[in-house]
C-alpha cells in the first residue's frame, strides 16, 4: 500500500505553487550588476559564402561595447557530436566543425555570423542592423534526396552531403533480405516522420559572468544538463577549465530535448564577458527559437514487413534518410541510429531485422533528439506498416499484433535488433487497453457519427521504448563519447533535514516532489524536510541531466544508493549510541533499534550525533552524515504500452477530431501516479500535435515558412480529447533498485501512429482506397487524399 507521502503517493507537485504564481526563477529573471546585452546578426539566406563582414559602422553605434565575428573564434574548438557513428563500410561519420559563429559560410537561415554587445538590448539590436555583411547566396540544399545526389554541398569538404550510411545490424542484412525475398507476404510503406520545432515555453537564455579576480566564470543558462554543457565548453569549445566554470540552470521552462545541447550563444556570452569584463546576457526571441533551437524528427523511411502464411512476422527492413540539418548537434548522430534502429523490433517476436540510416546534411537548422528521440520514428514506422499489413491481409489489427507479441514468459528477450528486454507483459497491457477502448461500443458510436455526417475510425498501436538512457558500458561500445550514469549527494544536516544534490535536472518533470518521496520512504522522514538541489554544477557532484526518461531510473537509483550508504553509516553511529554492534542494529521508519531489545534511537538523534560528535567513535567513523553515490545501470529500461484512439473526420472538409483516446502503459513501479499521469498527458498532446497539427516547413530556398505561431500549429487544449490513462500493468524493471522504467516520452512515442491508424480506418470505412497520409494530417491533406 502506498504510504500517504512516500513511494506510490499521488503527492501534489510542490514546485507548481511557484510556477503557477509566477514566482519561478528562470535564467532571464537573473539580473547582474553592470550587465550588457548580446544580439546576434543572423543569416537571412540558407546557404552563402561570407565574403566580408564590415563591423565598423556597428562599432560606432551608441552603447556598443564590442562586436564579434567568426574570426574571433577560429582558434577555439567546435561544438562536437556526442556519438561517433561508423558507416557500414567502417568509415567514421563526417563531422564538420560547428563553430561558435559562422565562419566562411552561413549554412542555414538564422545561422549567427556576428554578435554585438551593448549597454542595452535596444542598442545592441540597432547596432546589429548596421553590421554590413557581404554574403554571396548559393543554391540551398533542402530536400534530402537531392542533397545526396546533387552537386552543391552544405560543407565543401563533404561532397555527398552524407554524414554516414549506417547499417544495423550489418550481420543480419543478408538473412533479412532472404526472409523478405522468400516471404509469403510483404507489406511496404513509404512515410515521412515530419519535422517538428520544439517550442519550449521559455526561450533559450544565457548569461555569462566573468570574475577577473579569480579568472573564473559563471554561466546561467537554460540547460537540461548543466554538467554536460560545462564539459562541452571546457573540453571541446573554449577550453575553460571545468574548475573555473560554474554552470547554473535554474528553473527552466521546458526543453523536450532542445535544451540538452550546447549552443554557440553560450560560448559567445562567455567569451564576450571575459573580453569586456562585464556580464553579458542574451535571451532568444521567439523567432530565434524557431530558427535556431535544434528541431526534431525529419525522417523519410521505407519500411517492409514480411509475414509467413500464418501471419507471423518474419522480418522488418527499413531504409531511412535522416535530416541532421546544417551542423551536427550533440545527440544528432545517436538519435536516428542507436535510439531508432535498436528499437525496430517493437513489441514483437521477429527473427530478422535490418535497418539502414543515411544521415544527410541540409541547409536547415540542426536536427536532434526531441521528446522520444528516435523511438517515435521507429514506433511510427512499425505501427503504420503493421496496420497496413492488417489491411492487406484483412486481419484484425489487434489480433495481428497480439499474435506477434513477445510473450510474458519469453523475457528476458534479446531482439534481432540487439536489445535485451528484461521484463514486460504486452498482452496484459492490451487487455487493459481493450477494456478502456470499449471496442464493442464502437459500431454504435460510428452509427451516431454517421448520422451527423461524420466518418468515424478506430486506431490502435503498441510501442516499446528504451529508457533510463544510461548503461555506459553498453553505449561505449556503440560509439558514445560520454558515460551516462548519474549521481546524487545525500546531505543529512545536523538538525535532521536533508538536502539532496542531484545530477538530473527538472524542467517540468516534478523531481522536487518525486525524489523526496523516495527519500521519505527510505528514511522514514517527512518529505517536506527533504530539499532537492539541482541545476548548479558548483553544488552537485556530477550529473548527465534529464532526457530519455532517465531521471528516475538513473538518478533516482543514485539517490537510493546514496541513502543506503546513509543508513549504513547511521547504523554504525546508532550502534555506538546504543552500545551495540552495527550488525545488531535495524533501521525502520526512521528509527534505529537493537534487535531483540527495546533500545532505540531516532534518525534525528543519529544525525545530530554525527555533527556534534561528543562521545563519538572518532577512530572508526568520520563525523558528518553525507554520502555521494554514482549509479550506472546495466541495461536500459523498457516501458511499453498500447494506445487506442477514435476519430471523427468531416468528409466535406477533411477536418479530424479526436473523440476518444485511451493509453495503457507499463512504467514498472510508480513513485507518484499523478506526475506519471501528467507526463503521459503532455506526451500525448505532443504526439497528437505531430500527428494532426505540427509541421516545420522550409521552402526550396531554405526559408523557414513555419517560422512563427502564425504558421506553425501548436496543439491547444481544444484540439485534445479527455484522456483515459491506465498504468495498472506494472512489471518492475529488473535493472534498477526502484523497479522503475520512465514515463516522460511514452505519450509522444505511442500516439502519432495511433491517430493516423484511426484516420485511415475512418476513410477506408467510407470507401476511400487510402492506405497512408503523411503527418500532419491537416484538413487540407486529408481532403486532398480523399479527392485524389
Amino acid at each position: 500500500m502506498p504510504k500517504d507521502s512516500g513511494i506510490g503517493a499521488a503527492t501534489r507537485r510542490r514546485e507548481d505553487a511557484r510556477f503557477l504564481l509566477g514566482s519561478g526563477r528562470y535564467s532571464d529573471d537573473i539580473v547582474l550588476l553592470n550587465q550588457t546585452y548580446a544580439v546576434f546578426a543572423r543569416s537571412e539566406v540558407a546557404n552563402g559564402i561570407i565574403k566580408t563582414i564590415n563591423t565598423s559602422e556597428a562599432e560606432k553605434m551608441p552603447g556598443v561595447i564590442a562586436v564579434f565575428t567568426g574570426d574571433d573564434f577560429v582558434d577555439v574548438g567546435g561544438n562536437p557530436a556526442g556519438w561517433l557513428i561508423n558507416s557500414r563500410d567502417g568509415e567514421p561519420m563526417k563531422e564538420p566543425k560547428r563553430p561558435v559563429l559562422a565562419h566562411g559560410k552561413v549554412r542555414h537561415v538564422g545561422d549567427a555570423y556576428a554578435a554585438v554587445i551593448a549597454e542595452t538590448e535596444q542598442q545592441a539590436r540597432d547596432a546589429a542592423e548596421k553590421i554590413n555583411a557581404d554574403i554571396m547566396e548559393l543554391p540551398a540544399i533542402i530536400d534530402m534526396t537531392s542533397a545526396l545526389s546533387g552537386s552543391n554541398y552544405v560543407h565543401d569538404e563533404i561532397e555527398t552531403n552524407q554524414c554516414f550510411d549506417w547499417g544495423w545490424i550489418e550481420d543480419n542484412r543478408e538473412a533479412t533480405d532472404n526472409a523478405i525475398k522468400n516471404a509469403h507476404h510483404v507489406t511496404t510503406l513509404e512515410l515521412t516522420n515530419n519535422r517538428l520545432v520544439p517550442n519550449a515555453m521559455e526561450p533559450r537564455c544565457s548569461i555569462a559572468d566573468y570574475n577577473a579576480a579569480n579568472d573564473d566564470y559563471t554561466l546561467y543558462t537554460t540547460s537540461q544538463n548543466p554538467h554536460l554543457t560545462r564539459l562541452l565548453i571546457s573540453a571541446f569549445v573554449l577550453g575553460i577549465p571545468e574548475n573555473k566554470l560554474t554552470v547554473v540552470s535554474p528553473d527552466v521552462g521546458g526543453g523536450f530535448g532542445s535544451k540538452i545541447y550546447h549552443y554557440g550563444e553560450e560560448a559567445l556570452v562567455l567569451a564576450a564577458a571575459k573580453r569586456i569584463k562585464r556580464p553579458v546576457r542574451w535571451t532568444a526571441s521567439r523567432s530565434e527559437s524557431f530558427m535556431t533551437d535544434a528541431h526534431g524528427r525529419d525522417h523519410v523511411t521505407k519500411i517492409e514487413l514480411a509475414l509467413d502464411k500464418d501471419n507471423n512476422f518474419l522480418a522488418f527492413r527499413t531504409e531511412t534518410m535522416a535530416n541532421v540539418g546544417a551542423y551536427l548537434s550533440n545527440f544528432s548522430t545517436v538519435t536516428p541510429t542507436i535510439l531508432h534502429g535498436t528499437l525496430m523490433a517493437g513489441n514483437y517476436s521477429v527473427p530478422n531485422i535490418y535497418v539502414n540510416v543515411k544521415a544527410v546534411f541540409t541547409n536547415t537548422a540542426p536536427v536532434d533528439a526531441y521528446r522520444g528521440a528516435g523511438r517515435p520514428e521507429a514506433t511510427y514506422s512499425l505501427e503504420r506498416v503493421i496496420d497496413k499489413a492488417a489491411l492487406e491481409l484483412n486481419l484484425d489489427p489487434i489480433a495481428l499484433r497480439r499474435q506477434n507479441f513477445i510473450k510474458s514468459d519469453q523475457f528476458p528477450y534479446v531482439t534481432a535488433a540487439g536489445l535485451n528486454y528484461d521484463v514486460g507483459d504486452y498482452d496484459a497491457i492490451m487487455d487493459r487497453l481493450e477494456h478502456h477502448a470499449d471496442i464493442k461500443g464502437f459500431a454504435e458510436r460510428k452509427k451516431i457519427s454517421e448520422k451527423q455526417g461524420k466518418l468515424r475510425g478506430f486506431g490502435v498501436n503498441s510501442y516499446i521504448e528504451a529508457c533510463g538512457i544510461a548503461p555506459s558500458n553498453l553505449i561505449g561500445t556503440l560509439g558514445a563519447r560520454v558515460g551516462l550514469y548519474d549521481a546524487a549527494t545525500i546531505r543529512v544536516n545536523a538538525t535532521g533535514n536533508i538536502s539532496v544534490m542531484v545530477g538530473a535536472h527538472s524542467h517540468g518533470q516534478g523531481h522536487e516532489t518525486a525524489f523526496p518521496q523516495i527519500v521519505a520512504d527510505m528514511l522514514g522522514v517527512d518529505p517536506n524536510n527533504v530539499e532537492i538541489v539541482h541545476g548548479d554544477t558548483s553544488k552537485i557532484p556530477f550529473g548527465m541531466g534529464t532526457y530519455g526518461s532517465r531521471s528516475l531510473a538513473v538518478c533516482g537509483s543514485a539517490i537510493v544508493r546514496g541513502i543506503e550508504k546513509i543508513i549504513a553509516k547511521g547504523k554504525k553511529i546508532a550502534a555506538h549510541m546504543m552500545e551495540s554492534t552495527e550488525d545488531n542494529v535495524d533501521f525502520e521508519d526512521g528509527v534505529f533499534s537493537v534487535r531483540g531489545t527495546n533500545k532505540t534511537v531516532s534518525f534525528g538523534d543519529v544525525a545530530l550525533k554525527a555533527y556534534i560528535p561528543h562521545n563519538f567513535p572518532i577512530e572508526d567513523i568520520e563525523p558528518g552524515l553525507e554520502e555521494t553515490a554514482f549509479y550506472d545501470p546495466q541495461n536500459f529500461t523498457y516501458p511499453a504500452g498500447a494506445y487506442a484512439c477514435e476519430v471523427e473526420v468531416d468528409p466535406n472538409t477533411g477536418k479530424v477530431s479526436i473523440e476518444r483516446f485511451a493509453a495503457a502503459d507499463d512504467f514498472g513501479n510508480i513513485i507518484n501516479p499523478m506526475i506519471v499521469e501528467g507526463q503521459v498527458h503532455g506526451g500525448l498532446a505532443q504526439g497528437i500535435g505531430q500527428a494532426l497539427l505540427e509541421g516545420c516547413v522550409y521552402n526550396d530556398d531554405g526559408q523557414l515558412i513555419s517560422g512563427s505561431y502564425m504558421d506553425y500549429t501548436m496543439p491547444r487544449a481544444a484540439d485534445l480529447p479527455s484522456f483515459v490513462v491506465d498504468h495498472t500493468v506494472q512489471t518492475p524493471s529488473t535493472d534498477n533498485p526502484l523497479g522503475v522504467k520512465g514515463c516522460g516520452e511514452a505519450g509522444a512515442i505511442g500516439s502519432p501512429p495511433t491517430v493516423v491508424n484511426a484516420v485511415i480506418n475512418a476513410l477506408r470505412s467510407a470507401g476511400h482506397d487510402i492506405t497512408h497520409i503523411d503527418m500532419p494530417l491537416t484538413p487540407a491533406r486529408v481532403w486532398a487524399a480523399m479527392n485524389n
Binding site: Q122, R125, D126, E129, S287, N652, T653, L693, G695, V697, I705, S706, Y709, M710, D711, Y712, T713, M714, T778, P779, A780, W783, A784, N787
Partner: protein, 262 residues
C-alpha cells in the same frame, strides 16, 4: 521596435492634427501594428492612439434601422452587444483570443484589410458604409485587394454603418495555426437580395461571390449552389491549403452559411 513619439488625443480633430506630422500612424488596438513594429517591419515616427477618443467608441441604432459601430469599438464590445445581427456577433466572438478581442477594433481591422481577417467579409456582405473623417465609402468601393483600401494617407475610420440583414451567418474555417480565416463566408439576406462575401481565400482579398448570390436570390437553399465549381486559379495557395482546397472550402462554408441562416 524602434523609438517613436506617442500621442493620445481625446478628440477626432486633435487626432487628425497629430496624424499630419511626418510618418505618423494611427494606433487602435495595436493587435496588428504592435507585433509588426516589434519585428521592426514598421517604424512610424509618431503613433497617434485613437483609444481615448470616446466619440469613436460604441454601438448605436440609427433611425433607418441600420447600426453604427464606432471605429474604435473593440471586438469584445461587438460580441457582447446582442442588438447586433447574429452573424456579426459570431464573427466578433471568434476573432483571436480574449486579449485580442479586448484590444482589437473594427476600424483597425477594416483599415488593415488583412486577406484573412473576418470583419471585411461582414462589411462587404452587409453592404456597410465606412464613415471616415472626410467622407463615406461603400464597402463595395472600400476594399481594394490584400491590405489595400480606399483610405487616403492619415484618413481615419470614425464608424461603420451596417444595414441589418434579416438573416445572417458567418462561417469561419480557421487556418490551424493562426486561427484567422482560411476561408470565411459571411452571408447577409435582405428582403430583396442576398450578399455573400468571402475572406481568407482570394489573392485579391475579400470578395463577393456573385454567382452564389444570384443563385441564392432565386432559391435561398443549400442545393442551389451545390453544382457550382469555383475556379481555384485566383485562390491563395500556401502551406496550409492549396488553391483547390480553398476553392472547395468556399463552397462548403457557403452552404453552411445558408443552412445556419435559414
Amino acid at each position: 521596435m524602434y523609438n517613436f513619439e506617442f500621442k493620445q488625443p481625446k478628440t477626432i480633430s486633435e487626432a487628425l492634427n497629430a496624424l499630419k506630422s511626418d510618418e505618423a500612424e494611427a494606433l487602435a488596438g495595436g493587435q496588428t501594428l504592435i507585433p509588426t513594429m516589434k519585428q521592426r517591419l514598421a517604424s512610424p515616427a509618431t503613433l497617434v492612439s485613437l483609444s481615448k477618443i470616446s466619440e469613436m467608441r460604441g454601438i448605436c441604432k440609427n433611425d433607418d434601422g441600420s447600426i453604427s459601430i464606432g471605429g474604435g469599438t473593440t471586438h469584445a464590445d461587438v460580441a457582447a452587444n446582442s442588438n447586433i445581427f447574429p452573424g456579426l456577433v459570431t464573427l466578433a466572438e471568434n476573432i483571436g483570443d480574449p486579449a485580442v478581442r479586448n484590444r482589437g477594433t473594427i476600424g483597425g481591422s477594416l483599415a488593415n484589410n488583412d486577406p484573412a481577417a473576418c470583419y471585411p467579409a461582414a462589411a462587404l456582405s452587409a453592404g456597410a458604409t465606412i464613415v471616415t473623417d472626410s467622407r463615406e465609402i461603400s464597402a463595395d468601393d472600400f476594399f481594394q485587394g490584400m491590405f489595400e483600401t480606399a483610405l487616403e494617407e492619415s484618413e481615419i475610420i470614425l464608424s461603420v454603418r451596417f444595414p441589418v440583414p434579416s438573416l445572417s451567418s458567418y462561417q469561419k474555417f480557421v487556418q490551424p495555426a493562426s486561427r484567422f480565416a482560411m476561408v470565411g463566408v459571411f452571408l447577409s439576406k435582405f428582403e430583396n437580395e442576398t450578399r455573400v462575401a468571402i475572406t481568407g481565400a482570394s489573392e485579391e482579398g475579400v470578395f463577393r461571390w456573385k454567382e452564389a448570390e444570384r443563385a441564392l436570390n432565386e432559391d435561398f437553399s443549400e442545393g442551389s449552389i451545390t453544382d457550382f465549381v469555383l475556379e481555384p486559379s485566383g485562390m491563395i495557395g500556401d502551406i496550409h491549403a492549396s488553391k483547390e482546397y480553398r476553392a472547395h472550402l468556399v463552397k462548403v462554408m457557403t452552404k453552411r452559411a445558408v443552412k445556419s441562416a435559414s
